[in-house]
């Protein structure tokens, strides 16, 4: 276990040292992450796989600053976020992390544009600037003209592209995609994966993808497999 300050180099976006997470269910300790060390350089496309219960979701929640580790350190662009308060974590999520979820998690009865705007609302960006940026990103996602549509008026693939636009709107350090194709058909899944791949290759966005599907994981340059709260393999992709 590491103590004191941990540092990471400039081109490392995520550095995890001695990360442990233990849940307590009725005072019985249930270890979810036993000891994880990892370094992810800027511009990577990393796939994290593993069976359910392997700890990959817990790891993802910690990377997304939605949860805090029990022990160890997590450095996001050199900031040790494992030491921050809930409100400071909210600020980190707002500015440096973009989420893409399996079930899209768009606000219902709220237009596509307003969904994309949402992180900027909490960042305190003026309305005009927010809308302009949201429209740009929707256009980039091939959703020009859909800005006033509600999520329920869009197909699954379109909804996920709105979600990707929302994840990108704050120009985050990392994009966390949690089973982004889990609710999509095969064809749409590949479309979405190609969007992510292009973002990574053309714009240098760091993408961390969690999936249990091998063909989806194969989009990553690097595939990390979790089992029983430990990293069991870390390979550079095909």
């Amino acid at each position: 276990m590491s103590q004191g300050t941990v540092q990471s180099s400039n081109d490392t976006v995520v550095k995890v040292v001695g990360l442990k997470k233990t849940y307590f269910l009725d005072h019985i300790a249930v270890p979810a992450l036993k000891e994880v060390n990892m370094e992810i350089p800027k511009g990577s496309f990393v796939s994290i796989t593993g069976a359910s219960g392997s700890g990959k979701t817990t790891f993802m929640n910690i990377l997304g600053c939605l949860d805090k580790p029990t022990e160890g350190h997590y450095l996001l662009e050199g900031t040790d976020v494992s030491l921050l308060s809930p409100d400071m974590l909210a600020g980190i999520r707002n500015g440096r992390i973009g989420f893409i979820f399996q079930n899209f998690n768009l606000l219902a009865r709220t237009s596509a544009m307003e969904n994309v705007e949402l992180p900027l609302v909490y960042a305190g960006v003026p309305r005009h600037e927010r809308q302009q940026k949201a429209l740009e990103l929707l256009e980039m996602m091939g959703l020009k003209g859909f800005d006033m549509h509600y999520p329920q008026q869009l197909s699954g693939g379109q909804q996920q592209r709105v979600a990707i636009a929302r994840a990108l709107v704050n120009a985050p350090s990392i994009i966390l995609a949690d089973e982004p194709t889990g609710n999509l058909d095969t064809k749409t899944s590949y479309e979405i994966m190609n969007v992510l791949k292009r973002l990574n290759e053309e714009m240098g966005v760091t993408i961390i993808l969690v999936t249990h599907e091998h063909d989806i994981a194969a989009y990553g340059q690097r595939i990390i497999t979790f089992r029983d709260g430990l990293v069991v393999s870390d390979t550079v992709g095909p």
Binding site: L66, A90, R93, N105, A108, L118, Y122, G124, R166
Partner: protein, 405 residues
């Protein structure tokens, strides 16, 4: 997130659930409307009674025979015959703070003019009565001291009596019969209106007290004495002087109770104002209960809303909403509901009190104070009952909230 943004988010959430928002707001609307209407009506009634009592005459003192408690026995006013015309004369002569003094006797009975008749109150009074009661003469001349000394058969009639006995005829100089005695009408009094407690002063006839005493009632004592003090500041002094004088004249020993009662209009006014003020507060409090019920309605719906929108809260937290952003959002929803409800309630309550007032003929005006209090109250109801659901929302765990189905 700044406040304008938060207000926008909250009002949109309320707008998306129009029916629910309206029904939830209804509780506060009814509560505030009830408070405003009841308080306004209470004040209207209060003002009316106040003006009626004030119409008895300013700086006015009544002296009635008998005490409120004599030897532990509470006798009714007028149950003893201790007040004499000489008492009135003594007050006029010896009390420097008394401006006018008028003895008074009272008889209720039938009056007749030709083939018309009307049952009314006949007051036997002194010639200074119009000055004492601030009651001007509309037509003719009020009887003078000589008429009183001579026990002349003259009288002044109120507007209601004029209407009932004479209709359109000019009553001045006509003879009416009171207990079969002829009385010449010398004056018609101006409209005076209702004194407190529903007694219409215009439905009365005024005659010299000597005439009524001797010819109608056959008594030598008085039913009351009216005194007008020099000014409002000398009312208390006049009351003390009269009390001392009458105790001396009636040879009441120190420590014994008075055999008369002195009332002044200012005291009556303050007593009645206390009662009506309490009544208004009481009505307002009862109405406030419905406001609290309305507040609980808001809390209930906000709790349901927080549960329903758990996923939304999770999404907002994931993209960077801080706890206070979520708190503010839900608190503002509750406060918006309650204050808009409050404003509608104020309008509704005002309309309600004004329409009711026009039905029961009470001069109601909606005062600014109860309106401001009602508005602030509705705002506080929103804060108070919105705080718990909003706190609950802000304390949700984002991971669990995101996974909530």
């Amino acid at each position: 997130m700044n406040l304008t943004e938060a207000i926008k988010v909250s009002s949109r959430a309320l707008y998306k659930n129009k029916m629910r928002s309206v029904l939830t707001g209804l509780g506060v609307i009814i509560g505030i409307a009830a408070v405003v209407a009841l308080v306004s009506l209470g004040q209207g009634v209060s003002n009316k009674i106040e003006s009626q009592i004030a119409s008895l005459g300013s700086n006015l003192l009544f002296i009635l025979p008998g005490s409120t408690s004599m030897g532990g026995v509470h006798g009714g006013f007028g149950s003893v015959n201790t007040l004499m015309p000489s008492d009135a004369a003594a007050i006029a002569a010896q009390v420097p703070d008394a401006l006018y003094v008028s003895p008074g006797v009272r008889w209720v009975g039938q009056t007749v003019y030709q083939n018309q008749n009307w049952a009314t109150t006949i007051l036997g009074v002194g010639s200074s009565f119009p000055m004492i009661r601030d009651w001007p003469v509309a037509e003719g001349n009020f009887f003078d001291k000589e008429d009183v000394d001579a026990a002349a058969n003259v009288c002044a009639i109120g507007q209601v009596v004029k209407q009932q006995l004479f209709g359109g005829i000019d009553p001045i100089g006509k003879i009416i019969k009171i207990k079969n005695l002829p009385f010449k009408v010398v004056a018609v009094m101006a409209t005076k209106g209702t004194a407190g407690f529903g007694q219409d002063q215009d439905d009365s006839i005024l005659a010299p007290y000597t005439t009524i005493q001797k010819k109608v009632l056959g008594i030598d004592y008085l039913n009351f004495i009216f005194v007008k003090a020099l000014s409002s500041s000398s009312v208390d002094a006049a009351q003390n002087e009269i009390e001392a004088l009458l105790r001396q004249r009636h040879t009441i020993k120190t420590g014994s109770d008075d055999d008369f009662t002195i009332r002044n209009v200012a005291d009556m006014l303050s007593t009645v104002m206390n009662i009506t003020g309490l009544l208004t507060i009481f009505l307002g409090s009862i109405a406030s209960i419905s406001l609290i019920v309305g507040g609980i309605g808001i809390m209930n719906i906000m709790l349901v809303s927080v549960t329903e929108r758990t996923r939304e809260i999770g999404i907002r937290m994931a993209v960077g909403a801080k706890r206070r952003d979520i708190l503010l959002q839900f608190l503002l929803e509750a406060v918006t509901l309650s204050t808009i409800g409050g404003i509608i309630g104020i309008i509704l309550g005002s309309i309600l009190s004004l329409t009711t007032a026009s039905f029961i003929k009470i001069p109601v005006k909606v005062n600014i104070l109860p309106v401001v209090v009602a508005f602030l109250f509705s705002f506080s109801v929103g804060v108070f009952f919105g705080l718990y659901p909003a706190t609950k929302a802000s304390k949700l765990n984002p991971i669990e909230a995101l996974r909530y189905e």
